[in-house]
Each structure stands twice: as C-alpha cells, then as structure tokens.
C-alpha cells in the first residue's frame, strides 16, 4: 500500500510540474509579453521599462523558477488589470466554483446511480429504455443551450428561479443541472454495466440462496462492488467540472473561477489566466490522486498491481 501510494504521489507531482511548465509558457504564445502589456503604440523605452518592472528581461528558466517557487508558497503574482494579489482574488472566487461543482456532481450521481441500478435489474425493460434514451439525449445537448432553455422556462415563463447571482441556494439549482446533466449518461452506463456484471456473479447467487432480502443483496453486496469504477469516473468528472464551468458560470454570472477566467481573458490579464489554469489543473491532479487512493482502499486488487 505504501509503495503504491508513493509511486502514485510521484506521478502526481511530476504531472503538476509539467502542467506548470506548459502554463508558464502560455505567456510566450502571443510573442513578447512586454509588448502585449505596453500596447501597440508604446515606444521602445516604455517597453524596456515594463520588461524590467515585470522581470521579463531575465532568462526564461530563471523566470520560470522564480514563478514556480512563489506559486508553491502561495504567491501567484499580481493581476495586470485588477492591480491586486491574484491569490486573494482566487481565494474569494474559488468557493463559488466548488459549491457549483459539488451541487452538479451530486445532482448527476443522485439521478444516474439509481437509474443505472434500476436499468440493470431489468435489462430491456421500459425503465432501461428510458434510461438509455435519457443518456443518448443528454450526451447530445449543448450545455450552454440547455442552460438558456432552463432560464427561458424556469425564470422567464414560470418565474420560479432567479437567473443570475449567487445570493441564495436557489441560484445554484439551474447552473448545477446545466453543468451536471452532461455527466449523467457516462455514470449511468457505467453503473448499469457494472451491476449487470456483478449480478451474474457467484457470490450474489450465494447471497440470494442464503435467503437474504433482495434489497440487502442489491445494495450491500452488488452495488458496493459495481460502484468502484464509478468512484474514479465521478472524481474525474468533478475535476472536469471545475474547469468546464466557465460556460455555465458566464451564463449565470456566478462569481467563480470560470467567470474570473472569462473576465481575465476579456481583459488580456495574462498572469491571472496562468494562475487560474494552474490552480484548476492542480485541483484536478489532487482529486484524481485522492480518488485513486479511495479506489485502492475499496478494491485490494488495485494495490497489488
């Protein structure tokens, strides 16, 4: 177990380092960042000045090392536009994104796991077909269009929910559905396939033959094993949601990381963009790492190989 943990941790740190390198090099995609900052009409003197203030005159390796060391200590630099500390801005924005992603993944799991189990109990039944149809339709709905449809009916036609803001729990219902439904097909299919396989196994027959109640067999014996791959998928999808909420956050004006990313892209605020990509990637790496640990804990076979 310790060997598995250490190896997995090593990979996670290496991935994080690589991501930080890629993120850092983003700034050079547009050419010289000093010229981009100074604007088209700046004189050579001004550009040179900016280059020195922001340290763009140093060798790239030194710049990267400096940026990385500061980032590890929690200092992500200063925003070009907001003129304030990036870390403190991110700390105020991160909770909204986390709440939204948590609501979305909960919605997805609560909808898809029972549907997947029900579909697996009676394959080819009406409920199985309904679940399959839902999955096919769900995968084809563009999330931003679905969000607009939700707004149109829930807020404009029936006036049930507020459109924008983060004031109350009601603000998170539509964004969570719009962000979460996209995950349901995958989770549902995986639950269904896992349950179908497990329900045919010998130990389930034994449990049934012992005379255990069907519900106990289903949820305590079968689902526990079928759910293991779902844990990794849910973790991965949760990580994707953190980064993918940019569209949904922009539509519903939720003051989270995605909205911040969109704002800083509009303002050409490079250090802020870098910081957001880095923070969200690190979140993904940590989440998948924890999911792997959880999986190793749930399924002893993973620890060995």
């Amino acid at each position: 177990m310790l060997k598995f943990l250490l190896r997995r941790l090593g990979v996670a740190i290496l991935v994080a380092l690589t991501v930080s390198m890629i993120t850092f090099s983003l700034i050079y995609l547009s050419g010289d960042p000093a010229i981009a900052l100074a604007g088209e009409s700046a004189s050579n003197e001004e550009i040179e000045n900016i280059r020195q203030i922001y340290g763009y005159d140093r060798p790239i390796i030194v710049q990267y090392g400096d940026w990385l060391m500061r980032a590890i200590q929690g200092d992500l630099g200063r925003s070009h536009y907001l003129k304030s500390d990036i870390s403190s801005v991110i700390v105020t924005r991160l909770p909204n994104t986390l709440i939204l992603a948590l609501c979305a993944i909960s919605f997805a799991l609560v909808l898809s796991i029972p549907l997947g189990v029900a579909a697996a109990i009676r394959p080819n039944s009406l409920i199985d077909r309904f679940a399959l149809g839902l999955a096919v339709v769900g995968q084809a709905l563009p999330s931003f269009w679905f969000a607009l449809i939700l707004i149109f009916f829930m807020s404009i036609q029936w006036r049930l929910l507020p459109i924008t803001g983060t004031g109350s729990w009601k603000n998170f219902i539509m964004p969570a559905i719009a962000l979460g439904y996209y995950v349901t097909p995958g989770v549902m299919r995986l639950t269904r396939a896992g349950m179908l396989e497990v329900l045919q196994s010998d130990y389930i027959r034994t449990a049934k033959a012992k005379g255990l109640r069907p519900m106990t067999v289903l949820f305590k014996h079968a689902l526990r094993n079928a759910i293991i791959p779902v844990v990794s998928l849910a973790a991965v999808q949760f990580g994707f949601m953190l980064g993918g909420s940019i569209v949904i956050e922009t539509i519903f004006a939720i003051n989270g990381m995605g909205f911040l990313a969109w704002e800083s892209i509009q303002r050409a605020d490079l250090p802020m963009m870098q910081a957001i990509v880095l923070v969200l990637s690190c979140f993904y790496i940590v989440i998948t790492f924890l999911a792997d640990l959880l999986n190793a804990f749930l399924d002893p076979r993973i620890r060995v190989t």
């Binding site: 991501v19 096919v136 339709v137 995968q139 084809a140 149109f152 980064g243 940019i246 993904y284």
Partner: protein, 333 residues
C-alpha cells in the same frame, strides 16, 4: 397425395427437413445488423441529410448568409408563429372544430420561413451555411486529434514498457488541463479564426483516442496472428499497419464519431463565449450567442440553431453507438 402436398409447400418457398440451407454470408449478416439497428438508421438518415444540405448550401436558398442584410426586415418571425391555438382548446376539440388556426402576423413573410435575425438576414440561410462550419470544424479537429491520439495510443499499446509509461504520463498531463479554459486562453492569445480553432481543438482532444487505442492495441498485440507476423520477420511498421490497425478500426470509428461530436460542441461553446469563429460567420454557437439578449421576446432565435446543433450531435452519437453495437463480437448471431 402426400408428395403432392410437399411439392406445393416447396413451390411456395418453405424450407423442408433435409433441404440444403445456405448460411448468409458474413457481409449479408453485417448488412442485416446494420439495417436492423434503429440508431444507425435514424442517425444515418439525419447525418446524410445534414451533409447534403451543407454540400449544396449556396443552391438551397436565394440569399447570402452574411451579405444580404436588410435592417427594415429585421426580426421576422418563423412560420410556426402563424399557428394560433384557441384558448378553449378542449372545448374546440369537443365541438368538432380544429383548435388551431392560421393567422399570418405582420412580422411574418413566406420569403423568410424561419424568420430573420437582428440584421435582417434570413435565418434559414444562416442555419444552412452554419452546418458547413460545424461539419468542417468537427471533421478536421477529429482528424488531427485522431492522428495524434492513435499514434500515441498504438505506440504505447504495442511497445509497452517505457514507451507506455511516457505516453501514459502525457495523457495524464493533458487530462489535468481543462480543455475549454486552455482553448480559450490560447485562442485569445494568438487570435481566433476558423483554422486556429480547428488546430487548437485538434491538438487538445486526442486523449480519448490515445486511451482507447492503447487498451485495444494491448489486447490485439498478444494474439497469435501478431506473433505469426513477428515470426515471419515482418517489420514493426508493417505489423502495426497491416495487423494491428485493421483489427482495432471499429474502436477507432466509434471514438472518431464521439470526438467529432465533442469538437462540434466545443466549437459552439467557444463561439458562444465570443472566442471561436468570429462574426459575421454563421456559426451555430455564434448565432445562439448573438440571440441570447433577445431571449425575453424572441426565444426562437436561440431555439433554432440550438435544435440544429442538437440534431447533428445526436445523429453522430447514434451512428457511433450503432457502429459499436454492430461490430462488437458479442452481438453477432
């Protein structure tokens, strides 16, 4: 008497015990599976229709999607706004009258069956030309990502060991970076055009190709015919091209359809955020973005391009699911 009966039955085409029955050929079996699959039929018909529309776009409508602006003609309504439903719907039904009636409002004209947008451009024309953008981006980005992902995945699956470790590392790194965010950042830094969007998406979404090709290649490379080819002294390239790839191509097609749909959705999302295809191009995502301010009074402006997007993605996904069902060995017979 009995023999006469047998002859009549035989003439009517029934099969008798002792008759020699030929099994349908593998191609015939495949044909039966394909044409017996609802998903393939529906997805195929819709996709072919959209492909035809895209191919003949300029000949289908008399207008130009960008140049034919007429501000005096702005915001004409689509044809279904002419259908008026009676308030006492059920009363009308019980009286034997039709509850629907056709009243053409002033804001409707048969010159524009799906209405016009804010600039007075024919919405149907823009919709039709928009299919070209979606298909072009989806197909090109899928090709780019397919080449990258397949190369990485097959290399990892075939060679294993160190190569596998490195490829796995690259895949993990790529997965940990949020696609939409990175695509937005890159596009905003180097400017956005149709081909930049295609390349950025193509370079970002190869992960599923790599993952699936890696695992399927691993399965195939341990089979006897690969060992036989190795024993014959075939070169590695030949084994990969002639033995491995043809045997994983069904998985490749399934992933290709999924990724094409994925690329189309991402392009629409990027254009919706204003950082994909630039106006005045008739991209469906952009059309939704331009119409989102009109949601209170002209929601159909959002509904039409969104429905088109939905239909296209649905068709591609149905086709992909169908290919998976039809080619899976456990579904034969």
């Amino acid at each position: 008497m009995a023999s006469q009966d047998a002859q009549t039955v035989a003439r009517s085409g029934a099969i008798l015990p002792g008759d020699k029955v030929l099994e349908p050929s593998p191609m015939a079996q495949l044909r039966r599976r394909v044409f017996g699959h609802y998903g393939i039929i529906i997805g195929g018909v819709v996709l072919i229709a959209i492909l035809l529309v895209a191919a003949f776009a300029p000949y289908l409508t008399p207008y130009h999607p960008i140049l034919d602006q007429d501000l005096s003609n702005a915001l004409k309504v689509p044809f279904w706004h002419c259908i008026v439903v009676e308030k006492s719907f059920w009363a009308a039904v019980f009286d034997g009258r039709s509850p629907f009636s056709w009243v053409e409002p002033a804001k409707f004209s048969w010159d524009h069956p799906l209405g016009t947008d804010l600039q007075g451009r024919d919405y149907l024309t823009r919709l039709i030309h928009g299919s070209r953008i979606s298909l072009l981006i989806g197909f090109s980005a899928m090709l780019i990502s397919g080449v990258i992902g397949t190369a990485l995945g097959v290399a990892a699956g075939y060679f294993g060991g160190r190569v596998d470790m490195v490829v796995n590392f690259i895949i993990t790194t790529r997965l940990s970076m949020p696609v939409v965010l990175v695509a937005l950042a890159v596009v905003s830094l180097i400017g956005s055009s149709l081909w930049i969007v295609i390349w950025v998406l193509g370079l970002l979404i190869w992960d599923r190709f790599a993952v699936v090709m890696r695992s399927t290649t691993m399965q195939v490379r341990n089979l006897d015919y690969v060992a036989a080819a190795q024993a014959c002294g075939c070169s590695t390239l030949r084994i990969i091209m002639a033995e491995i790839l043809p045997n994983v191509v069904n998985h490749l097609i399934v992933v290709a359809t999924l990724e094409m749909a994925h690329a189309i959705l991402l392009e629409a999302a990027l254009s919706f955020l204003g950082l994909g295809v630039q106006p005045p191009a008739p991209s469906w995502g952009l059309m939704i973005s331009e119409a989102k301010g009109m949601m209170f009074f002209d929601a159909w402006l959002i509904g039409i391009p969104g429905a088109a997007l939905f239909a296209l993605i649905l068709a591609i996904n149905l086709l992909g699911d169908g290919v998976r069902d039809v080619t899976a060995p456990e579904n034969r017979n």
